[in-house]
Symmetry: C2
Subunit: 396 residues, 2 copies
């Protein structure tokens, strides 16, 4: 297997990004293919990831970060693609809450993503053209199995702690259930054991917006040298509303006008919240692939831990899992409400698993896990310290 | 002024629908124009309405119904356009809660609408072409003033009771504040004194979806013989999610699949909730005009009773209003939450107005006001009976 940095062409044959720095990248599925839930087998596929800190000799200081729908592998420092801070830079770095002077932190770009891991915008070797909608529909379980192959490739047997928010939390849950012997501690944050009808409804609206854009060309837009920017921006705008709480929007914007003293009696962005949302939409399309958005939202909709691993009973999915959990939710998160986290905790308790639970009081909504939340950080820090001590990782 | 039924060409010169039965229709602004908030003056404009029951000799038995964003004048019986039941047929009709054997019930299609009242799809006399985006941006206040002109035209001085849900409730509030001497009783239901940042955000997303549709043609789609069906359907889908509560969606659909035993690993409507939403989108475009959707949502966003009538203080807007209010909200309505209704009640109390308030326990979300809700109906019925007695309308 090959490994390299900087987005060059991989000799293993997997098509890589040529114009973006995607961090580290490996080709997996060379000897054994990855069999996806849909039945398709992936061979010679690229997985991009970023790591921070040093792997200790015993390989026991591994922290796996699982990113969310619109996230990527650049959790700390500066993201080379967006030139902004990594999405969890507040928490991860030297001397930070997750101290990269102490831990080896690794974050893979998810399967189906668009930041160096195989996804619908990469070249399908069978046709020599971008996969588009010929890319197989993937699941959260597939994402996790690809990550397990990555860790195998890196010679990492066991993760000290897996953490992630939103879809990242789904991956954390899947990791603990599918590979309980490989995950010592798990922190699923602001997540759910399955997607609710409302979750699916919002995603479906976003997908329909993308597919309604004539520039989408049935998913084959790259062959037409076009991008469904309008549709993707709409999808992002819808989703973005769900990431913020109603009070947060009200406190931040209220009915304040944007660069004007009075309403314009027109359809410009009179209100700050309109301007903000348009900005969210237009910047997203510069960094994200529309088909990836379709595939990843679909994987989230399909996520149902109880159905897949417990015969429909969530507790059964967790039976025999020795991983110690810290489940965290936020009071104002209406996308994945505390009730969803409680369902996870209840199921874990039902099989006498090791679980702690914290509902953090916050008015920041779902995005609270990405923002400055001292109470959240205190819980996170306390859990990691305790688990590290238990795992025999002596604090430096 | 002229009045007629059946959507024929009005001799007053206002362009009417020729292929739809819009109920009754009059031409207003013939002698005096209607000066809109934006400064434009409307002359010879059509207002369509429907009425049920008989106006008594004293003209004291008038109940005004104000419809919501996607509603129309057909509240009772069969809607001749959709061939379905009127949107409040459960409540209004002979021997029903609002008994049309007793009351004269009138519901006008709102200004900017698309069911016979002047709006962007009607012909602009200045150009001989549909108004499109040349139509002036209207406000809830404009809508109400047009309705007042309609009642003037019909010789109706005073409304016994004005009722409406959602944007209908905004009109009811505006009626009571702008014409307190003309409204004896008012029932604003599931509404708010202004649009919140989140409300504006959802509307803006819908508008962007419409305007992103190439078939929108800068609002001039009728000249191109096209319709932005895709964009309007997306807008409706987004909005529809906000009309239902999360528990209602979960109870109704959950994760149930649509006509299949297993997920398809594709982008079809695997889940019932997806199929349902697509249906909501596709049926809406058959009956609604995309530009009307832009104008009406804009009017809602602009709605701010305190700003317009109270110098920014809601209580001041209500000062001196003698109308008796019954404010009603629903526990699971997250679009216009109970807190919004409480703000109205608090402001009314602050100026010693006559107000009763009921928060109805319901899991049906915002749409509860349109659905079977016995507790809601009981409150409504009790208030109307009491007010009628007070008004001297003896029960038959």
């Amino acid at each position: 297997m090959n490994e390299q940095t900087g987005g060059q062409i991989d000799e293993g044959g997997a098509p890589l990004l040529s114009d973006q720095d995607v961090g580290k990248q490996v080709t997996l599925g060379v000897d054994d293919p990855l069999r996806l839930d849909c039945g398709v087998e992936l061979t010679n596929f690229s997985v991009a990831y970023q790591s921070y800190g040093e792997l200790n000799a015993a390989k026991t200081n591994v922290i796996l970060i699982c990113h969310a729908l619109s996230g990527d592998q650049f959790v700390s420092g500066v993201n080379p693609v967006t030139c902004k801070e990594g999405w969890w830079d507040l928490v991860i770095g030297p001397n930070k809450l997750i101290d990269t002077d102490r831990f080896f932190v690794i974050c893979p770009n998810i399967l189906g993503g668009c930041m160096g891991t195989i996804g619908p915008k990469e070249i399908n070797p069978a046709t020599g053209k971008p996969w588009g909608l010929d890319f197989p529909v993937i699941t959260v379980s597939d994402m996790v199995r690809a990550q397990a192959l990555l860790l195998d490739h890196l010679g990492i047997e066991k993760i000290f702690c897996a953490l992630g928010g939103s879809m990242g939390g789904m991956q954390v849950l899947e990791w603990a259930v599918a590979y309980p012997e490989r995950v010592f501690a798990a922190v699923p944050i602001a997540t759910a054991p399955h997607h609710s009808a409302q979750n699916i409804a919002f995603h479906e609206t976003g997908r329909q917006a993308i597919m309604a854009d004539p520039d989408w060309h049935g998913g084959d837009y790259l062959s037409y040298d076009s991008r469904p920017h309008r549709g993707l921006a709409i999808a992002r705008m819808v989703a973005h509303i769900t990431y913020l709480s109603e009070p947060a929007l009200q406190n931040k914007f209220g009915r304040q006008l944007q660069d004007r003293d009075a309403i314009s009696f027109g359809f410009d962005a009179d209100f700050q919240v309109e301007s903000y949302l348009r900005h969210q939409g237009s910047t997203f399309v510069d960094r994200f692939d529309a088909n990836s958005y379709l595939y990843i939202t679909r994987a989230m909709d399909y996520f149902d831990l109880a159905e897949r691993h417990g015969g429909g009973v969530l507790a059964e999915a967790f039976r025999g899992v020795d991983t110690r959990f810290c489940v965290i939710s936020f009071t104002s998160d209406w996308l994945y409400q505390t009730a969803e986290s409680r369902a996870i905790v209840k199921a874990l308790n039902a099989v006498a698993a090791n679980v702690s639970f914290a509902e953090i009081k916050s008015d920041k909504g779902h995005d609270a896990f990405l923002l400055e939340e001292p109470e959240f950080w205190k819980v996170l820090s306390g859990f990691i310290e305790g688990a590290a001590e238990r795992y025999g990782l002596v604090s430096q």
